[in-house]
């Protein structure tokens, strides 16, 4: 007679076994991400490492009243609003171009991917040589009679950093889009061609819908990378760059140096919360936009 398997026991056993396999990763994520973040949240709710009295939202109130934080948040938002859509649009455009039959396609692909392999310090060095007050760009402009611009110490500095961001990230985004484009069912596009659909219609009605998961992924990635631009800006301009380049990471880095751990933790919690909300919204948007094409 066949032995009857108890469904709950079986599930529990499977669950336990899964936990065993997951435990190394869970341990790593816990120790290196979850626990530190919990400590950060804790620090954002106390008044100091010495006394450790709970002050609930006082640190957050102090944070929002701080003009340096507001400046940093504004700059970060501004840069992300500029950089992320541009990165996506340009990467998609390049992917579409490279999808078409053009000569030297492979070489173009390598060309756009190569910035990813260059170390940050080298990139920064090149940018400094180009955009220094006495740099190459100003010398070129002088040839055309244009007055020299202090690129990194003026309102143009965000443009310089934006260019750096796009140069560094376009390649990878492009590859992701190319992969997404390759997964669009050919039959649908052929049917559209047969039905006489225009290229615009095909792009918006078919390609873009099928690319919606890729678009979501690239958006999130670009958003994260737009925060990481701190690294290049710090190497270019130090802890206190020009006003428009002062981002949340600068604020957090500097408050760490000055031992203001409560302010730092509160800023980190705020940033994390904003990121969670943003990404949740993006997921929702993708759910709605790509609902027709998902199985």
């Amino acid at each position: 007679m066949k032995k009857k398997r108890h469904p709950i026991k079986h599930r529990l056993k499977d669950f336990g076994l899964s936990l065993c396999f997951l435990s190394p990763s869970l341990l790593g994520v816990g120790v290196f991400f979850i626990v530190p973040f919990a400590v950060v949240v804790y620090y954002s709710l106390i008044d100091g490492v010495a006394s450790r009295h709970f002050v609930l939202l006082d640190n957050f109130k102090r944070l929002f009243a701080n003009s340096a934080f507001r400046l940093a948040a504004r700059n970060t938002l501004h840069f992300s609003l500029l950089a992320v859509p541009l990165a996506m649009a340009l990467a998609l455009l390049l992917a579409l171009l490279l999808e078409a039959r053009i000569p030297l396609k492979s070489q173009f692909r390598t060309f756009f991917l190569s910035p990813m392999m260059v170390p940050v310090a080298s990139v920064v060095l090149i940018w400094q040589v180009l955009f220094n007050a006495n740099g190459t760009v100003n010398e070129l402009l002088a040839v055309f009679g244009v007055r020299a611009v202090d690129w990194l110490q003026s309102d143009y500095s965000q443009i310089v950093v934006l260019l750096l961001f796009l140069w560094k990230n376009l390649g990878y985004n492009m590859i992701l889009f190319m992969s997404g484009l390759a997964n669009i069912p050919r039959e649908l596009l052929e049917v559209a061609d047969v039905e006489g659909a225009s290229e615009w219609y095909k792009f918006f009605a078919i390609k873009l819908r099928y690319l919606s998961p890729t678009v979501l992924f690239v958006t999130i990635l670009s958003l994260i990378n737009s925060f990481k631009i701190f690294r290049e800006v710090y190497l270019l301009s130090g802890a206190y760059p020009y006003e428009t380049l002062y981002t949340l990471q600068h604020f957090m880095n500097n408050t760490f140096e000055s031992l203001d751990y409560q302010k730092l933790s509160a800023a980190a919690v705020v940033m994390a919360a904003v990121m969670v909300v943003l990404i949740a919204l993006l997921f929702k948007a993708e759910d709605w936009f790509g609902k027709d094409v998902e199985g």
Binding site: F21, P24, A50, S67, A68, L71, Y240, D260
Partner: protein, 831 residues
């Protein structure tokens, strides 16, 4: 899943978990301190020496440690000789000293090796004079003692009828140094034999005078010695009396230290690429091939090392702590700290480790004035006497040690006076013990020379604030602003014997952040500028405009300060002086776009970025005295650590006691002077025993300590400062050895000149400060409100941006605008 796959996968997952949990194990390269084994602590005990008595007023330091105890040389008075004629025409008798070799056994018995006496080496020249000194001592293979003696001799070939030490005599000057090995019988102390060491086989350093200098000598235990010279390590065969193997080090390859272990292992700490800024290594040396064998991971220099016992390959000293280098893990473990064992670190000689884990050493301690604490110390004072004792440090179960409350004093290097204060406090209290945590022990070539400071700041950040914190090099104001430091003003006000009014209010104000007096320094010094009174006027403090007007009235080509004063120094001082004007911390406003700041930029532009010290050659014309007297320089930088410092400026500005004014740096308000403070210690708000911490710190403020004359700079106590001012106006006199004043031909006490000046015809001596000079210094001291710790972040922002102005790339206004923007961000971050 197939039958074997599931268990195999489970096994792999478990192995991964175990590997992850073992990830924290450190590699062999790091130097770590490990807490003492649970339940075991080290204790120190002292015992009086036995055997022979040391010569009067002499101490035995046990410089060289062998297995049978400690050896050291003592210069002993053996008679007197005529040293010259005094002003009365009478002969001056001087003591004649000779070097003696002494030995202390591990049980503390002292004796002199009488066979060591009266050695002068072979006759190098009939007229040769010179010096003989014991370099080092080691043990022979058969238990003898082998001493390396250096004999320096000099003479002149100029001829017998030439007056000694005349120019002609020096024209024929010759010198040489020789080394001798002297072998003594350990039991009787009698010399068995001696011979000259032939150093011709040793390479010569290009920086020497053509002869090799032998620094050290170690017994290899097999009839050979390892010798270290200035350009080589070499093996010397005692039987053959010649060098067998040489490892040439040259001048770029530095040997830091050599240590020979009891099992014959030779350890060498060296820097193979010193000239290229390379880092040091530690390796074993194969003495047969004279090559390095095995490199050991080690971050130190092997100073004061001792042969290892038990689990340790060797022991060494770093700062005031002793470490053991483990044989198994190749890591260093901190064993104990001398201060925490209530020992004066300067008084402990080289250790002799014992097999039972204990250590022996020779210990000498000075009794130093003044008495420091109000607690149960017996108050006995002695005038600088020392006593030699045998020190034993042994591990004992923690339960055997009396329970005391431990307070931590964190520092990056304690000055000697504070070390003595810690010792006195700990010896006087039965209930509390101050443990010194010296974070400079974390500094080394590999981790960097600020590793200790970073570690301390990180620990504070993570909530491990020490009970007492040495504020030297720490962001004291930030810590106070975060509420981490106790208000010592409240403690001072509650003190029954000390009161706030006793101390200079400007110094206390400078150490106040908000309402918190976060530290009270024991002493302070002041930096200002000095100028001729006829040029700068007689009132301290002036503006940039006034300075430029005075400069324009000077001869063409006149500079403000000396040629070596660089821009960074001036900028830092001027920023510090006017920081309150440029930054309003309470409102979060900055004013770097103000005309006053533009003046600072203009003023500092004329100073050199840095002075080329590498190619600098001093000439009379480059000194301040010449330049000021010839109208080439208007002002001089002045560091005031004592009232007598101003006498130099009397000399510098023309001789009259009122010839100069302490005018200060140009600033918008104040006297233009900045102060530096010393011995500043903060008490943590969470200090385990505030009463004890205050009891310790208040000792730096008592009348005894403030008036002790051992402070760096001026005392913060008003009474002590006034007493010091009064003493500065009294001349000092020459005295004999018993302290009696010497008299001149008129029967008057002979005054001692403390300075002199050129009056155009001859040098005039100065014997004391005048009343007006003392008053002018006091005026500056009591009215200086600015501290020399201008905010580093603001300073960095200013200097970074100002470079473009100094290089002529941007105007002062453009640079000021940028600084304004960045400083504004910084200041608002701090709110």
């Amino acid at each position: 899943m197939k039958g074997y796959q599931r268990p195999l996968a489970l096994l792999l997952a478990l192995s991964l978990v175990f590997v992850l949990s073992a990830c924290a194990q450190s590699g062999g390269e790091s130097t770590e301190t490990k807490p003492e084994s649970v339940g075991t602590v080290y204790t120190a005990s002292l015992q009086d020496t036995g055997g022979s008595e040391l010569p009067k007023d002499q101490s035995f330091y046990g410089t060289w440690v062998l297995s049978d105890g400690f050896y050291g040389s003592i210069y002993t008075a053996v008679g007197q000789t005529e040293g010259g004629i005094d002003e009365r025409g009478e002969p001056v008798m001087e003591e004649v000293y000779e070097e003696r070799l002494w030995h202390m056994t591990p049980d503390g018995t002292l004796r002199e090796l009488e066979g060591y006496r009266g050695f002068h080496g072979e006759n190098t020249h009939p007229d040769a004079e010179g010096w003989t000194g014991l370099s080092t001592v080691t043990a022979g293979a058969e238990g003898q003692i082998i001493a390396l003696v250096q004999v320096d001799s000099y003479w002149s070939e100029a001829g017998e009828d030439v007056e000694p030490y005349s120019d002609e005599w020096f024209a024929g000057y010759q010198s040489r140094h020789d080394y001798y090995l002297r072998v003594f019988d350990t039991a009787s102390g009698e010399e068995l034999e001696n011979w000259r060491l032939d150093t011709a086989a040793l390479p010569v350093s290009e920086y020497s005078d053509g002869q090799a200098y032998v620094y050290d000598m170690f017994s290899l235990g097999d009839g050979r010695l390892l010798m270290q010279s200035d350009a080589a390590l070499a093996v010397y065969d005692l039987a053959a009396r010649r060098f067998d193997g040489v490892l040439e080090t040259g001048d770029s390859f530095w040997i830091n230290n050599v240590s020979v272990q009891s099992d014959g292992t030779v350890l060498v700490s060296y820097n193979p690429a010193a000239q290229e800024g390379g880092s040091s290594k530690l390796s074993t040396l194969n003495v047969d091939t004279m090559t390095f064998d095995q490199e050991l991971p080690f971050d130190g220099y092997l100073y004061n090392s001792a042969s290892g016992t038990g689990d340790y390959l060797f022991f060494y000293r770093d700062g005031n702590s002793i470490y053991g280098y483990r044989r198994d893990t190749r890591n260093s473990e901190k064993l104990f700290n001398y201060l925490n064992l209530d020992l004066s670190p300067d008084g402990v000689g080289t250790l002799l480790p014992q097999e039972d884990g204990s250590f022996l050493a020779v210990y000498n301690e000075y009794e130093v004035l003044p008495v420091h604490t109000l607690s149960t110390y017996d108050g006995k004072q002695s005038a600088g006497s020392t006593s030699t004792k045998l020190l034993t440090i042994r591990p004992v179960p923690a339960s055997e040690v009396r329970e005391k409350q431990h307070l931590t004093l964190a520092t990056q290097g304690l000055d000697w006076m504070t070390q003595q204060a810690v010792l006195r406090f700990n010896r006087s209290r039965e209930d509390v013990h101050i443990d010194v945590a010296d974070y400079s022990e974390y500094n080394n070539e590999k981790s960097g020379w600020t590793a200790g400071a970073t570690k301390l700041k990180t620990e504070i950040l993570s909530g491990h604030m020490p009970d007492i914190l040495d504020l030297e090099g720490m962001p004291a104001r930030q810590l106070a602003a975060r509420g981490l430091l106790l208000d010592q003003g409240a403690l001072l006000d509650a003190d029954g014997e000390l009161s706030r009014g006793e101390y200079l209010p400007n110094v206390l104000d400078a150490m106040t952040e908000g309402e918190v007096l976060f530290a009270i320094p024991a002493s302070f010094a002041v930096q200002t500028l000095v100028g001729a009174r006829r040029v700068v006027g007689d009132t301290p403090g002036w503006t940039y405009t006034e300075l430029m007007a005075a400069l324009r009235a000077m001869p063409e080509g006149c500079t403000v300060l000396s040629e070596s004063t660089d821009r960074a120094e001036v900028l830092r001082v001027m920023l510090g002086l006017d920081m309150d004007r440029f930054v309003d911390w309470s409102r979060g406003e900055v004013h770097f776009d103000s005309p006053e700041f533009l003046e600072v930029l203009q003023f500092t532009r004329d100073f050199p970025e840095e002075f080329d010290w590498a190619n600098y050659e001093y000439t009379e014309e480059s000194g301040d005295e010449y330049r000021i007297s010839h109208g080439l320089q208007m002002l001089a930088s002045c560091q005031l650590y004592s009232f007598e410092n101003v006498l130099y400026y009397q000399q510098l500005f023309g001789g009259s006691e009122d010839a100069f004014t302490l005018i200060g740096y140009p600033c918008t308000e104040g006297n233009g002077a900045v102060m530096s403070v010393f011995q500043t210690y903060g008490i943590s708000k969470d200090c385990k025993n505030t009463e004890a911490a205050w009891d310790f710190l208040r000792g730096f403020l008592t009348g005894d300590y403030q008036g002790s004359g051992l402070l760096t700079g001026f005392p913060v106590s008003r009474a002590a400062l006034e007493e010091k001012a009064r003493a500065a106006t009294e001349p000092q006199y020459f005295t004999d050895m018993d302290g009696n004043a010497l008299l001149d031909e008129n029967g008057e006490k002979q005054r001692m000149a403390i300075s002199s000046y050129w009056d155009g015809e001859r040098y005039r001596e100065i014997y004391a400060c005048s009343e007006s000079q003392v008053r002018s210094v006091l005026d500056v001291l009591m009215n200086t409100t600015c501290m020399m710790d201008s905010n580093d972040a603001v300073y960095d922002i200013v200097t970074e941006q100002a470079q473009a102005f100094y290089a002529g790339q941007k105007s002062a206004e453009e640079v000021a605008r940028l600084i304004q923007s960045k400083a504004n961000i910084y200041v608002n971050e701090q709110r």
